[in-house]
Symmetry: C2
Subunit: 170 residues, 2 copies
């Protein structure tokens, strides 16, 4: 069951987030961008293009690294990670669509550290839905928006490349 939520204007939120990041990364010309599959990867792709950072763009799918991997098992759509730049010493902007418990963020950070020791990892999220289970906070966030525990906020990318957000009931 899907519920379209016109108040979550994904395109407007994306532009807000991109503006925040552009200001925040002004003094860091060699920042790398890493998107978390799949919504964060779409955002990272577009951010890299819009901010001229495509030379240092990567993707992670931290499904293997999540602490509940044993109970979730391997999803059929797990993507291999692609980190085509030197992580050691890098300043990395990690991008996710929805920040929730923080467990995915922790998993993505641990995955990045398996490649090397970054100088700095920042986090950008389109929506922060709160209810954190780990002391993680986004450096850049376009909207704080709570939903019920049995709901999820899902990012979609249309064939025209435009984003939309829906709140879906479990």
């Amino acid at each position: 069951m899907k519920n379209t939520t016109p108040q979550l204007d994904a395109e407007a939120l994306y532009k807000t987030l991109a503006t925040q990041i552009q200001h925040g990364l002004q003094s860091i010309p060699d920042a790398a961008i890493v998107g978390i599959h799949s919504g964060g990867a779409w955002l990272a792709e577009r951010l890299a293009a819009d901010l001229g950072l495509t030379a240092r763009l990567g993707f992670v799918d931290p499904s293997f690294y999540r602490d509940d991997y044993a109970e979730r098992g391997l999803r059929p759509d797990v993507k291999p990670s692609q980190i085509p730049f030197e992580v050691e010493g890098a300043t990395i902007l990690l991008v996710d669509d929805v920040l929730y418990t923080g467990r995915t963020t922790r998993a993505a950070i641990n995955e990045l550290f398996d490649y090397g020791r970054p100088a700095k990892i920042m986090l950008a999220a389109l929506v922060d839905r709160g209810e954190r289970e780990l002391p993680i906070a986004a450096t850049f966030v376009a909207l704080h928006h709570s939903v019920a525990p049995n709901e999820s906020i899902v990012l979609h990318r249309g064939t025209n490349g435009k984003f939309s957000l829906t709140v879906e009931h479990a």
Copy 2:
């Protein structure tokens, strides 16, 4: 070289932090407290006594878990961790004296996960000096206070059990 900083009233900050935590943990009667050696351990000890949580009090020394362990090496004063409660499913308040880059916090979280999968980890810090290198944020913090990169904020515990804070130059 030491510089006493009378504006950092450690005892007043401790009381502020304890009050924040008391309110924050009201709905979590079985919360566990884990202090990070050595300043965070002192704070955790006193918090556990003041808040009636001594039954679930632990300590970690995440020196082995820090990502710069190779370059820092083993300090002679590394303490063994003591986690005398079931971490799996627990709600844990991790306590540090000064929150800075976030690397110690990440190391402590990873150490806790080696014992089990907590339901929730919150973070309390007496002072947040900013300059984060990881997207970590304290749930409870008594004071935000920046110092120069070559300075450190150091917590002391007197023989009377009272806390003091100094800003020390490297």
